[in-house]
Structure formats: C-alpha cells, structure tokens
Symmetry: D2
Subunit: 419 residues, 4 copies
C-alpha cells in the first residue's frame, strides 16, 4: 500500500468499528481450544488472527502515533507479529498452535483494550494514523476470510466432523440445471489495468498501466461441481497429459483424486465438508477448494485455458464489485448456485498469471512495505473474492495470490479461450 | 500383565476412586486449550490422557463385562484407543492435538459417566473384571506421570513460559554441598531378578529368573546438576570420544548442549523450566531431562558406567519402594536435593540394559497383551520412578522404557562401576 | 516446437553430424566413473545425457520413420527416456546415477549405431523425419550445456577438486577496471516479441504478439564479480529487506552466503571452482552461478530491478545472436571479462518474468509436445545463453527457464530500471 | 580389540598377502563405474572399501611405525577414513559415491604401494605393528563381505539386473525336501561365554564371563525359503500381532512384503536377485536378506523365538567354526541348501540380544578403540557368518551387529524355544 495514496474516507470510524465487531461475531462458535490449535503450517489459529490484526493496529496506529500509549502486554509483539522483519524477532510460524496461553478470553480483552484506546484518541489521530486505520480495516478483512478457511481446515481434520454453524440441509441443493454456460468476449487491444483514483487499494494493485490483449472470451460462470465430476469420471486425475509437470508430481506424491474436503461414503456418494458440516456435494454449486494445478488440468481437459489476470480485470471492470455472494454476517458460508454472471464473490478464480510486480511498482516505505512485494515469486494471482470475503473488500483490480498447490481457500475457476 | 496373576486386593475400590480423583486434581490448572494441544509426536494432549484411561476402563471392564452397558459416545473408541491393534482402527497418534472437540468439559463428563457405571455395577463385577480394574489403576498412574511431563513439554514451547503451579522460589536452593558421594557394593554371583509373589506387576517384570552378576558397586546417589555443569564446562558435549556413535550423531544433528529445558540468560546463568516456571538451576538437585546418550557420555567422562537393570534391581531390593520422593498430590513437581540413598523416586535412572523379554516371558492374552511385549526393540530400561510417579506405583522389579534420545520424562542417572 | 513450422534447412546433414561430434569431443576427459555418477537430483550423469539424446533420435526419427529399424537395446527406452509420459514408463530421475552398466563404452557404441543408421537412411527420410532431426540437433545442444554444468557440479563435490580441463592461470585475470557501466534505453510503447519467420524455434517462443512496454533502460553489461563482492561486504546476504520472502527462507535454510562454487581459503581469499579447477575469483568477470533469489536481492540492493523478458528481447533484437562468448569447442569454459555490450553469451540473464505461455500458445502434438509447455509453473525465464551454450543455439526470442533457487547453470544478471 | 591381547601368529605374513590378494580377486568383474557408485547411505562404493582397508594399514602400521614412510597421497586420509574421530575430519559418509577420482586404477596402485612398503619393512616392524597387521587382516575380511553385499545392493537397483558372476542355473535347485528339522537342546545352567585364549578376537568378544541360562533348544537348521513362503502365504506380513511395534511401523512405512531382492514375475513366480543374477527362489535354500523385525515376526508366527546370543554361543561351541559354507574364492556367492547342522556359514543368524558390552568390557586405547564400543546402542547381535564371510574369520564368540531394519547382508534366522 502506498500510504500516501490512501485517502481518509468519510465514515472511516463507523467502518472501523463495524469491521472489528464482525471479526468477533464470526468467532462466536469458537471454544478456547478451537481458537488455539493450528492444523497445518499454512494456517494460523483463530486466536492468532484475532490478536495479530490487533497487534497491527496497536503497533502502527497507537505505538507510532500516540506518545503516551502503553502496550497491553510486552510479549504480544513477539507472539503476534506475522512476517514483518522490520518489527523484530517473532514466534515461529509453524509453532503458533502451541500457544495455549494467553487464552481466548485474554485476547478478546486485548481487542477491547486497543479499540478503546483508538476510540479515546480518535480525534487527535493525525492523517497518517487514519490512513493506517484504513489499512488496518483492509488487513482485518483479509484475516476474517483466513480465520474462516483456517477453522474449516481444522475441523476437517477431526474424525467426528463438527459443524461450525450447524444448519438444516437445503432441500433442493442437488438439482442441477446444466444450462450450457455461454462465452462472453472481453475488450481487447490496448487496455489499461491496475488501480487508480479515489478509495483504498493495496500497493500491488498499481500503478495503472497499459497492456495489449489478444481477442479472448471468458465463460459466463465458474465451473460447477457437476462439471468437475465429469472431469473426475473421465480420468482427469490420472492422465498426465492434462497436467503441468509440477502438478502431476503433486497429484502423485499426495495421492490427490478430488477437491479438498471431498470424501466418498460407503455407497460411493461424494460428500464435502464445510462450515456447516459434512453433506452431499451440491452439483449446481461452483467447484471450490481446488489448486491451480487442478484448475489448469481441468482447463486443458475442457480444451480451454485459464484467463490472465489482465483479461479477468478488463472483463470485470464493468460489473459492480459489491453485488456478488460475499460475506455480510456470521452464519453458514458456502458457495451458492453458480447462476449469476457477476464475476465477484462465491469463489476466488485462479488466473494463469504469476504474481509479479506491475511496471513501476514500488513497495511502500517502512514495515507496511513488507505487505505485498516480498511475496512476488512462485505464486499465482486469484481474482474476484469468495463467499468468505467481506463485502466491500474486493474490487476489479484486487490481486489475491497463493502457491499453485494450495487449496484451503474458497478457490475455483472460470474458463477462458482465444477467439 | 498376566491377567491370571493379578490378585484382587483389599481396598481395590478405594484405591480405584482415589486414583481417578488424583488424575482430575492434577488437571485443575488446565484450560480447555492447554488440555487440547500436542507439542510433539511423542507426547499426547492432557485431554487425550484423561479420555484414554477412561476408554480403557469403559472397554475392558464395562463393555466386556456389563452386558447392558451403552458406550458414552461411539466415536470415542476411535479417538482414544492408543495402540491396541486388536481394538480396531484409531486416530493417528501425531494428529491427537487437532481434536478441539469434544471439549475438556465433555471429557470430564465422560469420566464421571464411566466412574458412575463402575460404581453402580461394582458388586456384580466378576473376578476378571476386578483384575482389569487393578490394571486400569496401574495404567492410569502411568498416564498421570505422562500427563505432567507432556504439559511440561507443551508449556516449555511457549515463549512466555507459563508456570503450571506458580510458587515462590525456595531461598536456599542454590546452596550445594559437594559431599563426595560414596559407592556401595551390591550382591553379586548367582542372583534372581524379576517379579514374583503377591500384588500387582506388569507381565514384562517376570518371570523371576537367575542371573549371574560380576562384582559391582553403585553410587549412593544420582548425579547432581552441579556435577553435570562440570561435565558441560569440561567440554562433555563436544568430545566425540565420550559418546555412543548414535548419540554423537544426535548431539550434532539436534545441536544438543545441555539438558532439555535448560537455557542461559543474558548473564550466562543457567535456568531450567519446570512445572513451577523458569528459574535458576538448583545445583544440589539431581540432573534430569537427559537422554540415555547423555547419561552414557557422562558415565564415560566420569570413568564409570551405567548399571545394568539386574544390578540396579538386586541393589534396590532391600529398600522400601514407597518411601522415595514420589507424587502424592497436585502441586509443584520437581526433583529434590539428592541426599537420600533410597533408590526410589526423584528421577528415573537410565540403565545400560536394552528393553528385551526375560527368559520365559509370554505376553498376556487378548488386547491387554499388547501392553508391553511389542515394544521390546530399540529401547532402554529405566528404573526407580520419579517425582512425577504416583506413590505406590513403582517397585524394585518395575521396568520403565524409552528410546535412547528421549528426555522429556524426569530422567537422570546413577553411576556404577566394577569392583 | 510446432513441428509444422520447422523448415528443413540447407546444411542440415552437416550440422547434424557436427553437433553429434561436438558432444563426444566434450566428453573426452571423462572416465567411466565420471560419466556414471549423479551428484544431485537436478543433474544427470554424462552417460545419461549421451544416451538420452541418442534415444530421442532413435525413437522419433528411426523407430517412427524407418520401418525395418531394430532398436540397439530394448532396455534403453526405459533407461533413457527423460520425461515423455507418452513414451511409457521410465527409470526414476533421482536414481539415474545407479546405472553403472551399460558402460560409457557401450553408450558410445550406441551413439555410433544410431548415427550410422541415420546416415544410411538419410536420403529416404521424409520431411517430418528431417524436421525431427533438426529438433534433435537443438535438443542435443541443450544437453551439451547441461552435460558441462552437471560435470562441474559433480566435480565440485569432490574434496580434491579435479579440473576437467586443467589450464594455466591467465596472468591478468584479477585486474578489474571499474568502468561505470552505462545504461541504454530500449524501445518502448507497443512492441512485438516472440519468434516468427524462417529457421528453427521452440514452440514456447511463439506466437509472436504485441506487448506494451513502459519506458526502460538496461545496463550495458552484466553484473561483475567485483560488484558482487561489494554486495556481499555490504551485508547483502544478511539483510531480509532485500530479499523475496521465499528467497530469504532459502538463504536461511541452506546457509547461503556466496555464489555456488565459491569458497574462502584460510587467508580469506575467495576462490571459485570451475571446469578448469579451483582458482581466485576473477573480479572483472561476470558473476555467475547465482539463483533468481540472489539476482533479485542484488537488484534491490542496487536500487534497480531485473528486466522483464519482453524488455530484454526488444533490446536484444538489434544484436547478432551468434557473436557472443558461446561454446565452439572443448576446452576450459568460463565466463570472460564482461566488456562487450552484445547481450548474447557469457552468462544466462535472469529476468523477472515467470515462465508462462504466450497468448495463443499451443503445444506441439505427440510426444514432442511435452517438450516445453508442461513446465510452465514455478519457473523464471532466462535469456541470452552462456559460455556453455553452443554457438548457433540461442536467439533473441529464446526462452530458457529454471526454478528460482537453481544456480548450477552459468546464470548471472543484467540490471534494468524505469526511465 | 585389546591390542595387547593380539598374539602374533605363525604364518601372519602369508595370511596377510593372501587376504590382500583375495580382496582384489573379488573385484575382478568391477568396472570403474561399478566401483564408484554408492547405492544407499548404508553401503559404500567398492573403490572406497579397497582404499579404506589400505588407509587403515597405511595409517596404523606404516605412518605410526615406519618413520621415513611418506603417504601415497595426502588427500586419502580425508577421503578414506571411515569413522575414526581420533584421525581427524573425513568425507561425509553419504557422499562417498561422488568421488569419481581417484579412479579404480589409482586405488589399485595405492594398494600395491602400501603392500610393497609393508613387505619392504616387514622384518623391522615391531610387535605392536604386527598386531595391527593382524587387526588389518580381520578388518579387511569384514570389508570383503561388505564389498560383496554392497555390490549386490547396487546391481539390484539397476533395472537390467546385471549378474556380477553370471553362471548357469543349477538344475535341481527347486526340489525341496521338507525334512522336519529337529530341535537340539543346548547346555544350560551356569555357563561361560566370550572369547578367551590364543588367537585373534575383537575387543567386544570379551571378557569371558559367566551367564545363567534357562533350559532351551535350538532348531537344527536355519529357516528355509519354502518355510518363509508359508509365512508369507499365511499373511505374515499383514498381521500386526506378529510384529514388534517398531517393526510393524517399518513394514507399513516401507511397504515391505517379502525379503529384500525378491520380486514376482508376471506369472506370480518369486524370483530373487543375487550376485549370479535374477533367478527363481530356491525353496531348499535358507531364507536370507531379512531384517531382525522379519526374523522376530516369523518366530512369533512359528510359536518360537529367536535365540539369545549366549544360547547360540554355548550351542555352537562344540562345532568347528571353519567348516561351514564360507567364502574361499571369487565366484557366485549364494546360501546353499540348509542341510548341515554346523551353525557356521551360509547365513548370519539374528539373535534376540541387543548389542551391548559384556561385563568388564573396556575398549582398546587409541583410534582402534573406536572399532566396536561406540556402536553399542540400537543394534542387535548376529552370529555364525555367511557365505560371504571369508573362511577363518568367524568363531563361536564372534559378534556381528546391525540395526533391526537392515537386511542387505546375508541375514537369516534359526529358531529357539524353551524346554
């Protein structure tokens, strides 16, 4: 984020406290133990998320701008820094799940303490501090999504499959209308992508710049579970010609044969585990929890390809980013029937673009400059947001990024082709 | 355990409920999170210990002997079986720490449920069931010790070093009287070892059999922290000639330079972490949390050797096993000044004997036959019990066993020599 | 390679046999043992290279186009297929170094056998077969370079540091003229890149397509060893802010503190190992054997960046690709003083571009279609060729690719900046 | 080896040169590549064996006792020291196979050089040097066996299965006479084991000492391949109750389902690979290439057990140790029909005894003191010698030792039981 580019918007204070409240609301079903355990090195404990976003605010807003501020606990900087080298030593990422103390209750107290201090000093916060509050909101929204996907991963390791939000099964979920999704041509030739203008954006979304695109078309909707089953039944996971070489190694080494969280019951029926528990795969919903490798293999099988991030962005630019199936409140989070042509929400869409800097990119100065730039190797860009992305967080220029084997986020795909 | 050899003793019922109560008393300081996390594959969560010993009773006493008994929860057999192949599939050992649900509270309810059922049916339990209650007591006592050592290991991973039982520092702990420990010759020639007679013993403690011993002497007390520091200062951890070859590989691969839980503060002072927190190493206490490799290297450095288990047993046979520094109640558990010549309690003593079957050993029939025999490769015998071993649990013939690199138990050493 | 696009050029036969001869000439110093051992999973034994390129010709030219052809040995398809899934099962890559038999002598016989068969049938080979001969030449040239870099890696593991081509030390090598390399602006705006026209190119080099470039400049020469030492002395390997996050993890995990094959003698002088043995680092030569991570960190330190592959290509398009410091004959292979502004030869230059398909890319049909496309994840593009690249093999559109941590090729960097 | 206990025997010089000659004769079929490659960390290249035993003589006989002796090559101490910490730094064990130079020819020159120097100085060698020549003979005999088993392991990795000594198949090998092997009771009560008296023995074979044995019987012959197939067909490899816990983990982790070097052809016939190539399993021959875990599981299945090393030794004491099926000359080495009741030769026999020091054991002083003692953890004792053990090398008190999962030696088993 170029801190200088962040405008202090009207309604910042309300949005700040609403964001803070949503985070805590999302954790209502959590026990102290649920909030403490880490299920793999890629994920973090819920307690860590709750504390880390608070540490971010405490450090960059309060410590740096409120002279008389006293840290809630001097140990927390060590425990809850994520990866900011400029902020000093920190606890090993893979050992975050061993911190049984402080408890969930103490972390909630920490949150209240920091919020109260920000409220108390709000009127005296300088412009740069308010810009960091805006960054803190955006940052916390990202962790809201991670908190949900990390809890989902944790609960999926439990052989009794607890539901985070138990809900009745929706009656007609398995009815699938194979409605031959159409193709929509996008604008081509010399185009511009990247963020520019008013409002918040991360540093990696800019600068806006020209790109030259060949004629292309994107599918009107993302790939569905029904279509994914055709791929599986057609031997998609066992034909090396469909796969990137690294992907094929991954499939064989890990024994991958279905999306993450899918399992077959003794009748051969496919079930998927979600935040509402274990239930039959909904054929009409978009496929999710797939890796870039799987998305790419599917596209090869379908004689299509993944879109580039530039194609996705110019095609999405004409849609309102706030209208998709995004996160508004606590409650069962699952992708919905893939019917709408709005590209935002439901599932993140893998693109074929490696996550690299745009021409002219410069990381922000200071610790917050470590936010994006240093991750620009080995990862692929995802676009669009998911059902676990807080509404208001994504936009057409938003660049999410993960390694090609990762799939514990709500990741899916939209096909592209040359025309 | 040869089930047929277990006598049903007077006072069994009282001992049973006292043992069950002590387990729960030991867990009073635990939060739900503390009880859930697993800090390494060798250890288990406290919640798992609490449930596993209960599953043992539920399966072998209630399910097998009380026809109308209904399991508390059908999932628990899968979750809380440890290693009994005869009892079917079970949860992966290394993933025990991912089970955030059931909660600690639910596990405590499970305990109450099983205890009530045993109480209700006590008068109708057949002899074989009562023998399994006796085995269940012994089994639970072993897990009481593991529960404490596993919590100690977990808390030691937390950079804020929480104390399980915070206590004031005892004033004179650092005063060390180097009182030239004497040697005591043991009985040699044709001797007998192994359990025989009334009372409970595990199957691996027998049969009693003849062994021929060369003349030997054992040191009157175990090695102290002060002596261990001489070893460290004399380069004990960096001289390969003192070490077993596998031990030297371990030292180099793991970067071992002190007992487990020791650290130096910025002044160079050695601290050790215990269930009462982080405090200065007590020079007069016995060294503990050392591996067999370290014990063997120390003995080489001291121009001595480790005792064999037969030497240890014949020397210990004349001492009362119930009088050492053993576990009676909740509260700070640490080895005490090594002054007493009683060989029981304080720290487990590594012997130079591999854990192998005695002549004529036969494992018990059925699932409980998996208790000991199948572990008889690669491990060494320890004798004597520790400050975390419940009083009444050990005896002269008791054989504990661990791999030579393991050191999260309260393990120490006593020197031996030929005379 | 789009097989249909390969023209059968005048002089093909002469080039074919000259290429085959150069390969064998390069292996003159090899013993049977040298040719057999594999020093890491990324490399292959020299014997394997010699056989694999021959298997490629035997399969795709002789077996597929000469009906009466009989394979030299039926085992060789299994032993010497590299990664062509369409060609069936093959020997595990990491176990290539365990094949002590067939011997080097037998492999040289195999080469002669296949060459004789091609010569005998040359006049009857159809157009498609001749296109595959052309591909076979290009393929063998790639393996000539790998053969040299793999031998270098193997010999570097030998504590006696044998020289592949022992040579006297050149007297003035250590004289470094710091001649303030200039910047040269490249053509920007709407440009075209990718191969088009007569002559051979690999499939991944096309199709030619438009790209839009921002104004930029490239350094006139690649970074020298002298400059690299400034970076090292300035703490370049120990400042996390300079590094990509994955790069910093790699530096710490592997203990990286200098280019591959560098070591310090007891006087602190830096030596580097090459095909001519171990000698003092030549300050005026270009730095080589660095990873993308190191190249990127250096560029950050120098307040510059790596060029994109498009920038590199449009800037290089005006230079003759055959005039650089490339491989002509056996003999000591080392990068030379970095004086010339011709971008070809000496060291491969890491670009900041991920190796991904160009718009409209389609892999060739059949087994040869596995040549390039399936490797398009996780790797970065290198451009320009090195001192170990056979003359005539590279061109402006040529895309080499390796993972960002790999550095056993002759890899270096050229700085770029925005203007 | 207690150096002071080694007598200088009549005929030492002849035995020395005969041993040296046999080593080279065994390597006649080796190419330079065969002699260089290392197929797993446990094994060593043949070239390394040839050089290491020579380095042992050069260091401990020539360097230490012939003042004017000049080392053949100063690098060799670093390259060919095995594990003697007292002799300084050495090449990493797992990287021995990367040393393509010096060549096999140079190593053979090294052997000649050292032999000539010993011959030239023989008459002036002091008593201690001659004792070290005796140790050198014994040491070289051990490496003759390892050289053969290591070559066997290497060739078994080659998918074309080269025969080291190709031979015609013996016609009647598959005829198996199931001749109900008898049991033979051994001497029990107070017995003595361990070496004492004239002749050479390793330090770990002593001191001779009393042991008390319960009544026991040993099977007259070792277990045959036919019997092993009954075990396999009865599900021996898939029943966890038969296995030690560590053994069961090993079976599952490694996917073990047959002895090492066994494979099934497409007709389901079992073949085994040996130094004479791949051929049908000889049902009447003793099973070999099995681990301690497999031997122990077989014994459980057969309602028997492994003998202790003391039982084996007292039972073997009455047999001539030089009359078994042992190694005399180069040529196909395979266990023969298990008909003879002589316990020596054919296959090493796993015992149930951990390899630990005898009472009163003291390692020899100096570097040769590292020969045995430091390996006394985690390993099991094998007794009797094999078809690859040079005749004259073993005796009743001889203790061989390997880890319980290792099986690339000619290892088998003999059953024992209580009577």
């Amino acid at each position: 984020m170029g801190a200088g580019r962040v405008p202090v918007t009207v309604g910042l204070k309300d949005r700040f406290f609403a964001t803070r409240k949503l985070t805590v609301d999302l954790t209502t079903p959590l026990s102290d133990a649920d909030a403490t355990v880490q299920s793999m090195p890629d994920t973090s404990p819920a307690k860590w998320h709750l504390a880390h976003v608070t540490w971010f605010l405490e450090s960059f807003v309060l410590r740096d701008h409120v002279p008389q501020y006293r840290a809630f606990d001097d140990n927390f900087a060590y425990l809850f820094n994520s990866y900011y080298e400029a902020e000093g030593a920190r606890h090993t990422r893979a050992a975050r799940g061993l911190i049984t103390r402080p408890s969930l209750g103490q972390i909630l107290d920490y949150r209240t303490h920091v919020e109260s201090a920000i409220e108390a000093h709000w009127n005296n916060l300088p412009e740069t501090a308010l810009q960091l509050v805006e960054l803190g909101i955006q940052h916390e929204q990202q962790h809201q999504e991670l908190l949900l996907t990390d809890i989902l991963h944790l609960f999926a390791q439990n052989p009794i499959y607890p539901a985070y939000w138990p809900t009745p099964i929706i009656g007609d979920a398995a009815i699938f209308r194979e409605d031959g999704a159409g193709w929509r041509e996008g604008p081509w030739g010399l185009q511009s992508i990247g963020f520019e203008g008013a409002g918040f954006a991360f540093d990696c979304e800019g600068p806006r710049h020209e790109v030259y695109l060949q004629p292309f078309a994107l599918c009107e909707r993302t790939v569905s579970n029904a279509e994914w089953m055709y791929f599986m039944n057609d031997g998609g996971y066992s034909d090396p010609h469909l796969w990137l070489s690294d992907g094929w190694s991954w499939v064989q080494r890990e024994g991958i044969a279905a999306p993450l969280y899918w399992q077959q019951n003794s009748d051969g029926q496919w079930l998927s585990f979600g935040l509402d528990g274990l239930r039959a795969v909904d054929l009409s919903a978009p496929v999710t929890h797939i890796s870039l490798y799987e998305a790419d293999a599917y596209a090869s099988w379908a004689n299509a390809r993944l879109p580039t991030e530039a194609e996705w962005e110019v095609a999405a630019a004409s849609f309102p980013s706030g209208e998709g199936h995004l996160l508004d409140r606590p409650g069962p989070v699952r992708p919905k029937v893939a019917g709408c042509s709005n590209p935002f929400g439901n599932v993140w869409q893998w693109t074929g673009s490696a996550y690299r800097p745009y021409p002219g990119f410069r990381a922000a100065a200071g610790a917050v400059g470590e936010y994006n730039g240093k991750f620009m190797s080995g990862q692929f860009v995802l676009r669009g947001g998911s059902c676990a992305t807080p509404r208001g967080h994504v936009r057409a220029s938003y660049r999410n990024f993960f390694y090609p084997h990762q799939r514990w986020q709500f990741t899916g795909l939209r096909l592209a082709k040359n025309v």
